[in-house]
């Protein structure tokens, strides 16, 4: 824990652009050189509603991708935001040039293999966002990157054209068949594993999806790093609202904070069937 959030800073970020993509908004924020410390899997926490807001808590969003030009001190970060409730809708309504109060970067990052490996990246809905940044890093380390994205319907698939450059293959599944194959992201995993194409699984998306992937990965004894999403009040480990039951190294179940012991966690240790319950 001691190293978590060591590089976190509360900064004022400017909205460089705000584009609607399907049901999401792609927000590009200038966060300066802080960008250098952002790793795939990290998230940010943003104040919403403006100065006199009655919404007092920050909202958490995964960092999708970053880019920087160290010579100019410029660093941009991309977020993919689904307009859900008041806070995220406010965020989606912010015009170019608006200033945002952001704490960045937060939480754990995806672990990167030290040797080139075959990586399977699985994203549900806006959960695909951080996977594109991850894919770039994996690719640069010489990994093979296969990606599977799913959602209920086509407009909830986030798969930008630029992003596809970093992946070796991309499969899309929708539950209504409006894009890609009719079905779920979990459908093709077993055969990919069987074909020996999967050394490690990375995933991000709804908790039920992460649980299903864990089930498959556990059975095949494949490492599964997943980015979880629990309701967070503080995002920095001080409030204890975001806990999940997770098995310790000594085999005991503890209620760990998904904001600082996560969001990236070892899928095999999360007690998926007990999420929302209390560890005994």
């Amino acid at each position: 824990m001691s190293s978590i959030n060591r590089h976190s800073k509360q900064i004022t970020a400017t909205v460089v652009s705000n584009k609607r993509i399907g049901q999401y908004h792609q927000l590009l924020l200038n966060i300066g050189h802080v960008v250098e410390n952002a790793r795939p899997g990290n998230f940010v926490a943003i104040s919403v509603g403006g100065e006199n807001s009655g919404l007092i808590l920050r909202r958490a969003f995964a960092i999708s991708r970053v880019s920087h030009r160290s010579d100019k001190g410029d660093g941009t970060m991309e977020l993919i935001v689904a307009p859900h409730g008041s806070g995220s809708k406010w965020l989606c309504s912010q015009p170019e040039g608006a200033s945002l109060d952001v704490v960045v970067p937060l939480g754990t990052a995806f672990g990167i293999p030290t040797e080139p490996a075959q990586a399977l990246l699985i994203g549900g809905g806006y959960g695909s966002a951080p996977l594109f940044g991850l894919a770039e890093v994996l690719k640069s380390k010489g990994c093979r990157v296969d990606m599977i994205l799913g959602a209920s319907t086509a407009s909830k698939i986030y798969a930008p054209i630029e992003g596809k450059r970093s992946v070796n293959s991309l499969k899309i599944y929708t539950e209504d068949g409006s894009a890609g194959t009719l079905g779920k992201v979990t459908d093709p995993i077993p055969s990919l594993i069987e074909e020996g194409l999967v050394d490690v699984i990375y995933s991000c998306g709804p908790m039920a999806m992460l649980a299903a992937i864990s089930h498959i990965a556990n059975a095949a004894d494949i490492v599964h790093q997943c980015a979880v999403e629990e309701s967070m009040a503080c995002g920095i480990g001080v409030c204890m609202t975001c806990v999940l039951p997770v098995e310790n190294s000594d085999g005991q179940i503890a209620m760990l904070r998904s904001c600082i012991d996560g969001p990236v966690m070892d899928g095999s240790r999360v007690q998926w069937n007990q999420v929302g319950k209390v560890a005994k």
């Binding site: 509360q10 704490v103 480990g237 001080v238 204890m240 806990v243 209620m255």
Partner: protein, 310 residues
């Protein structure tokens, strides 16, 4: 012109500044140390610790409300022994001043906790959180029962002796907070912490059930500040010599100043830290500036200033 004196005392304990974390809103301190040096604030008030390790309540544990939030953590924690072995040494090593908050399930447990703290070097004060259910009395919250709260404090006082100051944290969910305050002062409290959260509920309109797994939760944040100011004002009026550690909805120096004017000798910042990791430091700097700009020579001059000429 003399230098501005920002220091404060809570009973026999002295602090260089009057800004504190609020119990349960800074975990054990470590996490915030990524954002500022803990020794820069008055003290870290640790999350209420119980005798045994506790997993706390199921999730969801929080709901945002207009200018506030509900929480229902259920005092998740490692238990006093692990806490004393790990957290306290870490805090002291980092030169943080420490106020340990304790919570028990029955009157005896508080005394046992006090006994464990008695021999620990370097603790500035103990905050006795009596806003927890008394398992021996139908789960009635100690702080809502004058007799039970008095007994708790009496037990802690006897066990601790006179060395470590005792602050007793009261709940605003009572008909007459002055009466509860009187009881715990009689039982030996050196100071009072005001206020704990207000009992509330949010119903999730999608599931059409209470949103929190624990159904009810504690309301905190700016929404409750007027209740905190009122409670501090009432209690300071009744017991002007008893120091008060005030809390409830403080997110700026202006807010802290309001609590000080009402009678708080120190101010804890809780929920504001969730939206601003630097909140305690920011409030501290702003309060110092406001006090100086108003012409006060010390924090102490301002404590309870709203009561003047009465």
């Amino acid at each position: 012109m003399p230098e501005f004196d920002f220091s404060t005392t809570l009973g026999p304990a002295w602090f260089p500044t009057p800004l504190f974390t609020a119990s349960g809103c800074a975990s054990s301190g470590k996490e915030l140390s990524q954002f500022f040096p803990l020794r820069d604030i008055g003290a870290v008030v640790t999350k209420s610790i119980m005798l045994k390790a506790r997993p706390g309540r199921p999730t969801p544990r929080m709901a945002e409300t207009p200018s506030g939030m509900l929480n229902s953590i259920g005092l998740q924690g490692p238990g006093i022994d692990t806490f004393l072995a790990n957290d306290i040494p870490w805090l002291l090593q980092h030169n943080a001043r420490v106020i340990v908050s304790i919570a028990g399930e029955n009157v005896d447990e508080y005394a046992v906790l006090a006994r464990k703290l008695r021999s620990v070097e370097g603790i500035s004060a103990v905050e006795v959180n009596i806003s927890c259910p008394n398992v021996e009395n139908r789960g009635l919250v100690f702080a809502c029962d004058p007799q039970a709260s008095r007994l708790v404090v009496d037990g802690v006082r006897r066990t601790l002796g006179g060395d470590i100051p005792i602050l007793v944290k009261l709940s605003p969910d009572v008909t007459d907070i002055v009466e509860i305050a009187r009881g715990v002062i009689d039982a030996g409290a050196d100071g009072l912490s005001l206020i704990n959260t207000i009992l509330g509920m949010v119903i999730n309109v999608d599931t059409m059930r209470p949103h929190l797994a624990g159904k009810t939760g504690g309301l905190s944040g700016p929404a409750i500040r007027p209740v905190a100011v009122r409670a501090i004002y009432q209690v300071h009026q009744a017991f002007p010599k008893i120091p008060i550690l005030g809390m409830g909805g403080v997110r700026s120096g202006r807010d802290a100043f309001e609590l000080v004017l009402a009678g708080a000798s120190g101010v804890s910042v809780g929920t504001a830290t969730f939206s601003n990791p630097m909140a305690v430091i920011d409030v501290q700097n702003q309060l110092r500036e406001i006090l100086m700009s108003k012409g006060f020579n010390s924090l102490k001059e301002a404590v309870g200033f709203a009561h003047r000429d009465e």
